[in-house]
Amino acid sequence: MTSTQQTTHEAPTAGDGSLNVRPMQGLIGMALGFILAGIVVTVFRLWTGGIEWNGSASDWKALLGLGGGKLMYVSIFGALLGLLVVINGVAGFRRHGFLSALAQLPVGYAIGAAVTMLIRMAFGLTPYSEGPVATFGVIAGYYFFVRGLGGWANWWWYMKGAATPEHEDHSNHGARRGWRDYLIFNTDHKVIGLQYLVSVFFFMLIGGALAESVRAELANPELQYFADGSAYNQAMSLHGVIMLFLFIIPVFSGLANYVVPIMLGAPDMAYPRLNALSFWTFIFGGAIFLASIPLGTFEAGWTNYATLSSTNGPSEIGVGQLMWLLGIQFIGASSIMTAINFVVTIVAMRAPGMTMWRMPLFVWGSLTQSLLIVFGTPFVAGSQFMVLFDLVMGTRFFQSAFGGDPIAYQHIFWFYSHPAVYIMILPGFGLISDVLTTHARKPIFGYRALAISTLGIGFLGFTVWAHHMFTSGMAEWLRLPMMLLTMLIAVPTGIKVLGWSATLWKAKIHMTVPMMWTLGFLFTFTCGGLTGVMLASVPFDIHVQDTYFVVAHFHYVLFGGSVLTVFAGVYHWFPKMTGRMYDEKLGRLHFWLMFIGMNVTFFPMHWLGTLGMPRRIADYQELAANYPSVHGWNIVITLGALIQGVSYAVFLYNMVTSWRRGPIAPANPWRSRTLEWLVSSPPPLFNFHDTPKVVGAPYDYGVPGSVHALLKGDPGYDEALPGAIPETTTAH
C-alpha cells in the first residue's frame, strides 16, 4: 500500500449520515448568485450593444442583480443558485440516493430553464419560450438527477485526483440493505439486472393498460371512450413507444445484465459504473414519457413521422411532442451505453477457456444485439434531433418548400428502426436456445449455424430498412433490392427455427413452464416470420401497408416472438435471481391464458388488414358498414386482449408471491450446464469466489461425464488450462 492514497484529501462519502446544515452558506450563495447573474447579463448586454451604460442608479441595480422588470429573471436565477447551496447543505439531500435525486431534479430543471431564459433575454428575445426552456431544463434536470444519485461523484473525484472510495472498495455496491439497494446508484450487475426487470414490467403494465383502452375503443365502431381522434392517437402512440422503448429493448438489457457476466465467468460487467448510469438514464427517459401523459402526450405514433411531428410548433402540438423528442434521446443514450458495455464485457471478460465457440447462444444474441445498437441507435437519435430542431429552432429539414425532404426522415428513421426489430429479438433467439437445450436435455442442433445466422441476421438487418417504405414514394428502383434482401433474411431465420425444431428430435422434453413458453414461441414466431416474407413482396405490401395486417405481423414477431422468449427467460432464471421457485400451476395458467389470448387478439387482425382496415384509426364505421365481419372480428380481438390482461395479472401475482414466499430454490434446479447454474441461487456478490475454467461446449447433453466449466474445488480444476490464471501477486 503506497501512501499516496492516504495523503489525498478526503472525499465526501455517500451516506455518512452526519447532519450538515449550512444555512449561512445558502444565504451567501443566494446573494452571490444575484450579483454574479446580474454582472454576467449586464456585461453581456453591454457587449452585444443591447443596452448602454449611463452610470445611473438603475444601471448599478441591474449590475447587482436587483433590477426590476426583465431583470426579475436574474434575481430568480440567483435565488435558485442559492437554493441549491441550501439544499446541498441539508444532510438529507447531500446523501446520495433516490430521494436526493428526486429533490435535485426540479432544482436542475429550474436552473436549466433559468439559464436558458437569461440567455434568451441577453439576446433580446422573449425570455419564456416553451421549446428551448423545456429542452434545456430537462437536460439540466437529468444532470442533477444523476448527481443526486451520486452517479457523477466517482468520475468527478477521479478527475480531481481525490480518492474514489467506491472504486477501491467494492463492498458498497452490494450493500445488502434489502429493497433499498435497488433505489441507489448500485453498480452490481445483478442488482442492475433486477432493477431493469422490475421497472420494465411496471412499464409493460402501463403499456398494456393503454392497449386495453385502445381495444375498448375499437370493440365497436364510432368513438365511445376517447374524446376525439387526438386522444386516441395519444393512447396508441404511447402504447407503442412504451412497449418498444420501455419494455422490449430494456427487458433484454435486464436479463442480459443479470445472466451474461455469469455465463462468461466474469465478476461483473466491464464498466459497472457506466452500467448503473445506463439504467438511471433509462429511468429518466421513461419518466419523461410517463410525465407527458397529463400534459397531453405525443400523437404521431412511435414512428413519429415528419412532418406530422415537426411542423405545428410545440405550443400547438402540445408539450408532449417535445417530451417524446427529449425522452427518446435519453433512452437511446442509455441503450448505446449498455451496448458498449456488453460488447466490451463479452470480448474482454470471458473466463479462461471460454472461446467464442463455447459461448452460450444467449451471449451470442446479446453480442450481436449490442453491435446493432452501437451502429444503429445514433441514426434514430439523429432523426429525432432533426425533428427537435425543426420544432424548437425553426430549421426545415423535412419541409420540401424550403429544400427539405419529408421522405428523408423515413430513411434515417428506418435505418435504425429496422435493425431495432432485431435488437428486440436477437437476444430472445439466443435465450430460447439456452432454455430449449436445458429443458429438452439435448445439444442444440447446429450450434455454429445458429451463432453465425445470428450475425447474419444482424448484418442483413442493416440492408433492408426501406421495406417499410414501399408506398412512401421513395426512389422506385430501391424497392427491388430491398425486397430481395428482406426475403433473404428468411434464410438465416429459417436456420434458427429449423435448428430449434430439430433439437427436439429424440429429446427428453420436460414440460416445465419455461419450456412451454419456448414451444409456444416456435409456433407463433414461425407465423410472424412467414407473414414477414409475405410483406416483403412489394405488390402485396402495397395493398396491406399501414393496415392491421402489418399490426398482426409485428405483434406476432414482437409478442409471439420476443415477449414469449422474455417470459421463458424470466421463468427459467427466476430461481437463479430470487433464490426461490415460482408457482408452477400459476405459471402454466399464465402461459395458457396469454398464449390463447394473444392468438385470439392478433390472428384476426390479418383478416381485418387484408379487408382494408387501416391501422391507427379510432373509428371504422364506414368500413364496418361495407364489410360487416369487421365489427365481429374487432369484438373478438378485444376479448382476446382482455384474456391477455388477466394473464398478466396472474403473472404479476405469481412473481410477487413467489419472490416473497416461494420454496427455496436449489443452485441448479434444471440441471443445466452453463456457468450461471454452477453458482448458488442467488449468486454470491462477485459471482465466483475463484475464476472458473471453461473446458467444454455449453450444450453437450448426453455425453457422460462432460462438463462446460469447472469451479475451484471441482475435480480437475487445478490441472485444467495450466497457466490460464496468473498467480495472484502480493506486491501490494
Binding site: 427455427v497 409475405m534 364489410y627
Partner: protein
C-alpha cells in the same frame, strides 16, 4: 424409422388441415371474405400472389408445427426420468438443405412479385413505355389535405379535361371503366403561398433589404397547383407578417413597443409563418383497387390502376387515408365510383351546379341503367329516386323508374 416417417406425414397432414381450416374457414364463419371486392385489373394479380403466398406460408407453418407437435408427443421425458436425450449436435447435409431450399423458395417468390409489380406499373416510372399497352391513358391529380381529398382530371400532357363551368376540383373520385388511370398524388394544405410570403417578409426584414442569395424563395409545387388563397389572404398575410416581424425586431433591439405590437406578440407567441401552412403526409388508398401510395407534403408521388367494372349501389367504395395524419385521420375518406366511359365524358363537362346531383351515391344507382343516351334526364330521375329512398338498390331503382 419408417414408422416414424409415416407418423410424421400424418401429423403434417392433420396440422395442415387444421391450420388451413382455421385460416380459411373462420373468416367464412365471420360472414365475410378476407379481401375486399375487386375493382382493378392490377388487384387481380395481387390477389393471386396473396393466395399463393398464403398457401406456401400455411404449408411451411404446418411442417414446422407438425414436427414440434410430434416431438412434444413422442419425446416427452417420463416423470422422474433424469437421463439426457440422444447426443445429436447437428447434421451438415440437413443444414445445407435448409439453407438452399428456403433460398430457392424466396427467390421464386421475389421473381413472381417482381413480375406482378412490373406488370402493374407499365409506363408509370419508365417514360419509354408510356405509350405501351397497359400504360396510363388518363391522369388524375390527387390532393390530400388535413382532412380530405380533391381530384382533378387531366390528359397525360396535363391539359384540363373538365369543362369551363366545372368546378376546379372534385371532392369525390369518379373514374371511367376501362381506362388505365395515373394518379399524381400530392399533399398540399393550399396555403403554402401564405407560408412562403411570410417567410419572404421575415427574410427581407432580417437582411434589411440587402442582397441575399437566400432572400428569394421559389414557389413550391403545391403553390403552383393547389393554391387556394385569394389576393386578399395574401395581402393580409404579408401585412401580419410584416407587423409581427417588425415588432419582434423592435423588441430585440430594445425599442419601445406600441400597445398594438405588444398585443400582437402576445396573441401570436409561436408565429412560425410557413410552419403552420404546410400539410402532413397522407396516403391515397382504395382498398378495392389494392394499390396505395403516400401523399407527401410538397413532393409528387405516382400510382396507376385500371378500374374493371362500374360500381353499383352496394359498392360503397371509398378513398381512404392510410397514413396517420392527426386527429381527423380516421375520418379522412372520400366516396369513389366508377362509371362507363361515355358517362364519364358527360360527367366531366357538367357545370358546378349540375355536379350537385352527380355524387357517387347517385352515380352508383345511375350505373344500374345501361343503354341510355340522355344522361342528364337519367341523373335527374336517379336523384329523385335516391331522395325518396337513400338505400335504393338497382332493383328498387329500376322499378321506381319503370
Amino acid at each position: 424409422m419408417k414408422g416414424q416417417w409415416g407418423k410424421l406425414v400424418g401429423y403434417f397432414v392433420a396440422t395442415l388441415i387444421i391450420s388451413a381450416a382455421g385460416t380459411f374457414g373462420l373468416p367464412l364463419l365471420g360472414g365475410g371474405s378476407w379481401l375486399p371486392d375487386l375493382l382493378s385489373r392490377e388487384g387481380g394479380a395481387i390477389d393471386e400472389l396473396f393466395w399463393g403466398l398464403t398457401i406456401i406460408s400455411l404449408i411451411i407453418f404446418a411442417m414446422v408445427a407438425a414436427f414440434v407437435i410430434y416431438a412434444m408427443v413422442h419425446f416427452r421425458a417420463e416423470p422422474g426420468d433424469l437421463s439426457d436425450g440422444e447426443h445429436i449436435h447437428g447434421n451438415a447435409r440437413l443444414e445445407v438443405v435448409w439453407i438452399v431450399v428456403p433460398t430457392i423458395i424466396v427467390a421464386v417468390i421475389a421473381i413472381l412479385s417482381y413480375i406482378v409489380l412490373e406488370d402493374n406499373e407499365i409506363g408509370l416510372y419508365d417514360k419509354a413505355a408510356a405509350k405501351d399497352k397497359g400504360a396510363a391513358t388518363l391522369a388524375v391529380d390527387v390532393r390530400g389535405f388535413s382532412f380530405g381529398w380533391n381530384f382533378r382530371y387531366e390528359d397525360l400532357d396535363g391539359a384540363k379535361l373538365t369543362g369551363e363551368d366545372a368546378p376546379d376540383a372534385s371532392p369525390e373520385l369518379v373514374l371511367p371503366k376501362g381506362q388505365v388511370v395515373r394518379f399524381n398524388v400530392l399533399s398540399c394544405s393550399g396555403k403554402e403561398h401564405l407560408g412562403r410570403l411570410e417567410e419572404q417578409v421575415r427574410r427581407e426584414l432580417e437582411t434589411e433589404g440587402k442582397d441575399n442569395e437566400f432572400a428569394e424563395i421559389e414557389p413550391g409545387i403545391c403553390e403552383k397547383e393547389w393554391d387556394s388563397t385569394t389576393a386578399e389572404d395574401q395581402a393580409a398575410a404579408e401585412e401580419t407578417a410584416t407587423k409581427v416581424f417588425e415588432a419582434r425586431r423592435a423588441k430585440a433591439d430594445g425599442d419601445d413597443l406600441s400597445k398594438e405590437q405588444k398585443e400582437l406578440l402576445e396573441s401570436l407567441p409561436a408565429y412560425h409563418g410557413d410552419q403552420q401552412h404546410i400539410d402532413v403526409n397522407h396516403a391515397f388508398w382504395v382498398p378495392e383497387a389494392r394499390l396505395k401510395i403516400d401523399a407527401i407534403a410538397g413532393l409528387r408521388t405516382y400510382v396507376q390502376w385500371q378500374p374493371t367494372r362500374t360500381t353499383r349501389p352496394d359498392d360503397n367504395y371509398q378513398v381512404v387515408c392510410a397514413e396517420l395524419c392527426g386527429s381527423g385521420h380516421n375520418g379522412m375518406r372520400s366516396d369513389m365510383c366508377v362509371i362507363e366511359q361515355d358517362a364519364f365524358d358527360w360527367w366531366l363537362g357538367l357545370s358546378e351546379e349540375e355536379r350537385q346531383d352527380a355524387t357517387c351515391a347517385n352515380l352508383r344507382v345511375f350505373n344500374c341503367f345501361e343503354g341510355t343516351d340522355d344522361f342528364d334526364e337519367l341523373l335527374e330521375n336517379v336523384a329523385q329516386i335516391t331522395k325518396e329512398d337513400p338505400e335504393a338498390g338497382c332493383r328498387e331503382a329500376q322499378e321506381a323508374l319503370a
